[in-house]
Symmetry: C2
Subunit: 350 residues, 2 copies
DNA sequence: TTACTGTGCAACATCGATTGTGCAAAGTGA
DNA sequence: TCACTTTGCACAATCGATGTTGCACAGTAA
């Protein structure tokens, strides 16, 4: 029937089979057929034949002609992270609801890769780009502006387009306040002070959380020197080393420990394994970000659950509304209380 | 300079600026310029002008002409799952290494959505499709064959193309054997038997694991009736209910519990919260799939870490080698010993 | 019959890049 | 100088779908 056995049929093939012209076929298969005054009988015949032939539109040709692609891109740092994976899921559902095809790309936090990815998405003519967690937002702004690309920043503020931000300051304030509420009586000297661990001050979200941590500490009348903020990055290994050193310096866990990310917390646990249970009696621990299993540890961990779904939903609202000015929306994260499993020796801490 | 302020420049614009023809520009910007005998000087001039103008190739036009897109698709059930998120990450890295743009789409385990997604990817003319975790592989086989689409199945066997499988039978055997090694002396009656919980027998991977569980139980001389395999699905809630009922029936935890997924394990923990610590003294627990935090629980949990990276790497090897026959490759998962945090009251179990 | 309005569709240009072909001009050897 | 090769590039067709324009024919009113 066809020349190449596996060539996909085009509107020209369908047109020939239907005894119609390609333009009629095109109209009949889309929703332009009414406006183009194609009779319903013709439309039905063409659609039947197209279905029989397993026709599917060539989106490249369509996109070329219409100067849009039906794709919508999202840039994230990594896929294998709860927060971003939730965003991906929500992004995908929202995009499909709007008849768009989501393309999710990760930059591995590398600014060069980041720019390359944005250029690629522009080359594919994505209709809009969501930027979540970029290292160099300014470079992205420039690229998008040059290409006249609709874009929206998520979880970090951008100069050139709307931004949807997680309220990192608010979330970190809530968490820090909760930790102070639960904190055993502080001791004297460095040993009695609250500590913050993980992340990088260069990262927008981390900077906000650190600022909130400092502010609440001051409100609560606690000392907070630069030594108390240990921004050791995101890798578990670095966190393990940092917490080991901290214990070495202080001789014990501090009364309050704010861990900035799950990855850092993973590292922290890597060192905790080596400690006796008593080490945890006089400390309260919080973690920014949520993991269901971390909530089930033997000692209570207060966690912040970011609202990935809310962030994406807000971003799509900007898209739907056609807003392109650099306005800002904020979405509040939630505090999740510990669900510590059968508290064992620590029941008295509850 | 340009008519529309934000129109992206095309090769025609560059050609005019460079005083060359569009075909020369096209060749100069790609790697065909040597074959087309464009002088190096011309190439350099054109590239300079293109860079100045912020030119980027229109991949839709290129794809249309060349009958390929430079895209490679992967279908997964969900994004927000450790295993699939790891696969996504690995897929992305591998695709980019080969100069392809990855498009990752999730089906939410809905067969209808699944087919729609595959059709969409075909319409965008992706150069190859990886299918990981599909509900209806036969429908996908048919669609791909119809379109002449290269595809590779991951973590489930397909009829129409190569498959890369996680060795679920082997992994579950290893885990079950380990659990038997660590199991306290079995009691009499149902209460003394091993149990399997979570997943669905209709799912290929789960079926393999259940078969392995049964086989090892028999080898080890344990009874294994149909009551001992509780395939209650993937949702945490169902697992919570199932484990509650089990405890109710038996009056205690069984000596050996094989939990089939992290989501189910999450549900199991939801019930464990209500139990006293002593409840865990006479049981050994395993979970198929790995979570760093779950490895740090108060009681030891033996986990299987699936090799997402290995699966993807093998799949790309099939792709690179141009293999299209339905051959099968298997990738072995790893057993991860518990890293139980300061074992507390259970140190004697170690 | 004439003029006019609809109806139903075909013809054709177009989107931007790639690629087969052709053709001058420069270079080479006799 | 002549025949021949090589160099360097332009021209035009093409990929598949869309949308504008135009045309034949039917129906209708005067």
């Amino acid at each position: 029937m066809q020349q190449h056995p596996n060539r996909k049929p085009t509107i020209y093939d369908i047109a020939q089979l239907a005894g119609a012209s390609p333009s009629t076929v095109s109209a009949a298969l889309g929703d332009a057929w009414k406006a183009r005054r194609i009779s319903q009988a013709t439309v039905e015949m063409i659609r039947r034949i197209a279905a029989e032939q397993g026709y599917s539109r060539n989106m490249q040709a369509r996109g070329l002609r219409r100067a849009r692609s039906g794709l919508v891109g999202m840039l994230i740092p990594v896929h294998d992270n709860r927060f971003f994976a939730s965003m991906s899921q929500s992004f995908e559902v929202n995009a499909r609801q709007r008849g768009l095809v989501p393309v999710i790309a990760s930059s591995l936090r590398d600014p060069a890769e980041e720019s390359r990815v944005v250029e690629t998405l522009i080359a594919y003519n994505v209709d809009a780009l969501f930027v979540a967690g970029a290292a160099n937002t300014e470079a992205i702004s420039v690229l998008c502006e040059q290409a006249g690309m609709r874009h929206i920043f998520i979880d970090l503020p951008g100069r050139s387009a709307p931004s949807v931000l997680s309220d990192n300051f608010g979330g970190a304030s809530k968490l820090t306040n909760r930790l102070f509420d639960e904190m055993p009586a502080p001791g004297d000297g460095p040993r009695g002070r609250p500590y913050f661990l993980g992340g990088s001050e260069a990262d927008y979200a981390s900077a906000e959380r650190i600022a909130a941590f400092r502010a609440v500490c001051r409100e609560r009348g606690a000392m907070v020197g630069s030594r108390q903020v240990i921004a050791c990055g995101y890798s578990p290994r670095r966190a393990t080393e940092a917490v080991a050193k901290l214990l070495d310096d202080l001789g014990a866990l501090p009364p309050l420990l704010f861990v900035n990310s799950l990855r850092a917390f993973e590292g922290v646990l890597g060192h905790f394994v080596t400690l006796p249970p008593e080490a945890f009696a006089e400390t309260v621990i919080g973690c920014y970000d949520y993991d269901p299993f971390a909530a089930f540890l033997q000692f209570p961990v207060h966690m912040v659950r970011q609202n990935a779904h809310g962030l994406i939903t807000s971003a799509f609202e900007f898209l739907d509304a056609g807003i392109t000015d650099p306005v800002i929306a904020e979405v509040a994260p939630d505090l999740v209380p510990p669900r510590t499993i059968f508290r064992g020796p620590f029941a008295e801490l509850g």
